[in-house]
Structure formats: C-alpha cells, structure tokens
Symmetry: C2
Subunit: 317 residues, 2 copies
C-alpha cells in the first residue's frame, strides 16, 4: 500500500505551515498543513503519513483516517500517544530520537554550573557593588547520577567526563552500562542515589517510571545534593518532593517538566527557595531538526527500511 509519493499531513496548532514549507523544500509535493480539528478532518482522507504535534487523535479511528499508515510525533516523549487507544494498532508510531542530547545536556550543565559556582551570590554582589571574592566548589570530583542512558543520557555522560566528574547511571535496559563508572538496575534506586551529588532524570514516562522518584528515594539522597528533571514531570512524586524540600533536604531542584503543564500559577514550586522552574524548554523540537529527522525517516519508509524512533506501545516509548 506504500506509494512512491505518499500524501503527507502536517499538524501543529501554530507551526503547521512553516513545517509544510520546510518538508516541501526537501522535494515532497503532496504535503498538506492543518492547525485545527476542522482542517485535519478535511485533509485526512487519502493521507498516508502524519507528522504532528498535539494531534486530535480521536480522528484516527474514524473512516476518514483509514489510509493512515504511519504517525510521526514531533516530540521525544510519547507517553500520551503510546497509551492512546484512539490510535489503531496498525498505524506505525514513531517519535523523535537522538535529536535532543546536545540541547538538553547544555541545559543540564547550565544549571549544574549555576549551582556549583553559586551564580546567585556573584549576581547579588554585583547588584550591591560589593567586591566579594569567594572560593566556590567545583564539578570536578563530584558525582553525577544519570537515570536513563539513552541518547540524552549518553550526551550528559560525555560532557560530565570533560568536567572530570564521577559518573553513575541507572537504566532499565542496562544496554549502555559500560558508559558509566557504576551502573544500577531499576530496582536499585536507593543505592544508586546514596552517594551522588546530582541526580539527573532523562527517563521516559511509563508505568514503570511513574513516580519512581518518591519520598524514599529523595530521602536516600544526600541532604546537600540536587535533582534536575529533564524527562517528564510525573517521574517525580511532586507532593513528596515538596514535603522533602520543605524539611530542608536537598540543596536544589531544577525542574523543566511537571505533572501539569503549564505549571499552574498558584503552584508552590514557583516561589520555593532552591527550586528552579523552567518552561519545558530544555529539549525543544526545532523545526529544522524535526524536519531533517522526519525526511530521513520518510526515505527509510519509502525504501522499506526500519524506521528510527519506532515506539513499542507496550513498553511505552
């Protein structure tokens, strides 16, 4: 049923036209852009391939979507899509992989250095025109613990080496265990976090990782350690993190992802000391990056080669 020139539907609430233009630039002509449910309904008949962000998936089990064969998400996290019963089993589901390592690792080291060099103290001294030489700590010699050793975790490992850090890792598959100084399995969280100075979460959200960082794990961490979450909000039990930090445990929490996004205005994280809130921006899907990835996958699709970022719905990513 594969056609040499498949009909492609791009869906995005605010960037559909821009993506469509970019994909056409790669030489694909049958490209439609939709930004609303109505537009999607209009273009779905005859569509074989979808590239989408926040797609109205309820449309996919209607007869108008019967020709859809492959659904490429514009994001890396597909916890919502993998468990979405609206998407028929025969539609191939793929996510973006290997695109975010560099970007997210820059975010992680921005905040690791911000914390360890005590930038707030330097900024305050400048504001007060006060000469304040002090000796900060260093990343060198400290231990980073990376939960999740996929392409993002691997890139964090690489940069951590250049800062002469000790590197621990925890992963479910154990596939990249040789990257780190010490590897821990998914039932070893409390041993894993015991000696580390920074816990970085890059795991996908699945049934097995939901609220995996709970009160017990947080209390097993050193009181002066810090946590950085660039995975998914619900990896952490946020209520328990709040309680643990209110008790004075942990030196910092850098949170780019939350159980509810956007983070509600009234949420205590916004004003909590030592909590750094950012707006799910550590690993943005840039149009050019996603388009390159999609076109590469499209060529694989046309040549009947295995697709990159294939989602195993049972596993959840």
């Amino acid at each position: 049923m594969m056609s040499p020139k498949p009909n492609i539907l791009i869906y995005s609430p605010d960037q559909a036209d821009s993506y469509a233009e970019c994909i056409r630039g790669y030489g694909f002509s049958s490209v439609k852009a939709a930004s609303t449910v109505e537009e999607a309904e209009k273009y779905l008949p005859g569509t074989e391939v979808i590239l989408a962000w926040k797609f109205p998936t309820q449309l996919l089990h209607k007869p108008i979507a019967s020709s859809v064969r492959w659904f490429q998400s514009m994001g890396a996290g597909v916890d919502d899509l993998a468990s979405d019963t609206h998407i028929p089993e025969n539609i191939i589901l793929t996510r973006i992989v290997d695109q975010f390592g560099g970007y997210i690792s820059e975010y992680v080291f921005t905040y690791l250095l911000y914390l360890v060099k005590d930038v707030p103290r330097m900024s305050k001294a400048q504001l007060e025109r006060r000469w304040d030489p002090f000796i900060s700590e260093t990343l060198a010699g400290k231990t980073i613990g990376i939960a999740g050793l996929g392409s993002i975790g691997a890139e964090i490992v690489r940069k951590a080496r250049s800062f002469d850090m000790n590197v621990y890792g925890l992963s479910f598959s154990g596939k990249q265990a040789e990257l780190v100084d010490r590897h821990f399995a998914s039932d070893e969280w409390k041993v894993f976090v015991k000696e580390i100075d920074y816990l970085v979460l890059t795991l996908p959200l699945t049934k097995a990782t939901h609220h995996v960082v709970n009160r017990d794990v947080l209390l097993a961490m050193k009181p002066e350690s810090a946590i950085i979450n660039v995975g998914r909000g619900a990896l952490i039990n946020e209520k328990e993190l709040l309680a643990v930090m209110r008790s004075g445990h942990l030196q910092g929490a850098v949170l780019d992802v939350f159980e509810t996004e956007p983070l509600p205005k009234g949420h205590p994280f916004w004003e909590m000391p030592h909590v750094y809130v950012t707006s799910h921006l550590s690993g943005p899907s840039t149009r050019d990056g996603v388009s390159r990835f999609f076109v590469d996958n499209l060529n694989r699709y046309l040549n009947k080669q295995p697709l990159q970022g294939l989602v195993d719905r049972k596993r959840g990513y």
Copy 2:
C-alpha cells in the same frame, strides 16, 4: 648553599598560620608564619625559601634577606613580581602553574552557558510565575576564540570540544597551536576575532599584552559576540571597552579581573547592561592546591631538579 632542611617563611596577610600548618603536615619542621611587615623582618634572617602572597618585597634587598634563594608566589599571575626591582636577580622566582585550568574553565563555561541559554530570561519568567517556553541558542556550532594556550587555555579547549564548539586560538609562543582548529599569531588579533562568537582571555600580563584588546580589536569582533576575561584586567583597555559597549557593540562582557582591584564602587562596569562583574574569583589559590604545588617544588629544589613555574623576568611570566 642548599640545606637539607631549609628554613621556610610563609607570608600571607590572612592565611599564614593556616599555610604553615599545612606545610608542616608534609613533614617540614623549619616553617615560620608571618602576616605583617614586622613579623617578616623578624623571621627573614636565615630564611632560604619564601612562599608568599602580597609579600613586602622592599625587605628583600636588605641584609636580613641575604640568605633567601627562592621565592614561590601563591598566585599564577606575577606581572607585579616579575617587574619588581626590589627582588635581587639571584633569587629564583616561581609562580603557580597548572593548578587553575579546571577551576577557571568551569567559570568560563558557567558564563558561556548562562549567556547562550539566556538564564536571565528563565529567572525572570519564574519570578513572574509566567510559563515561557522559548528556544535558546546552543554552544554547539559556535566558535570560541581563546587567547592564551597555556594550561588554562588548554583546559578550556578540552571542554569546548565536549560542547561541539569550533575552537580558535591565539598565542604568543604557538607551542600548542595543534590544539585548536585555527591558530593565530600575536600580530593577527583582528583576523582572529573576526569570526568568533566568544573571546576568552587567559593571557599573562606583560608589556606585549598590556591593553592588547583595544578599540580596534573590539570593533573587529561581531556585534553579537561576547568577551570573557579571566587573565588580567589590563589586557583590555577598559575605557575603550566601555565606549564600544555603550555604542551597542558586543552582546556581553564577563569580567573577573580589572585594571584596579577591587573594582572601585563608582565604576560604570557595576551597573552596565550586559556586563557581568565578578570579584577575581575565577581561579582562586586554594590553600591545599598551592601547598601541594609548593611541596612538590620544594622536593624538586632539594633534589636539585628544575622547578615548576619558573618565572623569566624579562618575558614577564
């Protein structure tokens, strides 16, 4: 004239006792500590080795200092000592080397990432409880230009590689030219800075480097580039930097060193937009680090091996 157990004088306005205790811990017993001119005068007779910070060098050409053979500075920069005519030619002068690369490079990357990821924007959004996802730029693909390729510059090169940056370098000796993608000689400043996004100064201060970053060099830089100075204040003509930045040229200046330190309360740098002032803290002489270096040199001295960090007074470092 070398004795198996030379008399050692430690001088520091505020840390002499602490250093002396540390050196004695390495098994050297003839160690005296002085914090004032009077104490230095009292202990100088018979002293063979001096480890010092802010030493009253006028004492060194008096007869009480006639047994002094070797003067180890606690710092890396010795522009003041190298040109100090109070220090007799027969006294060996050494400085700390190879201790600051890791520390200073962490400072440099703290601010490179702070600028490129736009931490001020993220902080402001949090302060205003505002969800503000945005796509920052990345260090990856940007070009860093490092002036000075000694041990500090080399460590910055190493970390820049892990961030997938292009690395240009300028050095006077050209000895480590192979470290960088493009190397420039000391008469090529304007070509060197033309294409770079970040200029990092790690040069020693000598007659040849005084005000080497002047109006012409600054204007040859891209308007959206930034400068980081972790060398010595007078590498930059500060007045010309001020004028150039007031005209809207350069995206940022991160300054840890100044022509006058502490930076005077009334100096315009304190409140200038895009200028980040820190208090000469990027490469602190930690007691433990300096002591280790000194004891290692002391053993070389006793074994008549070449000393580390030997200062060539004509060259100026």
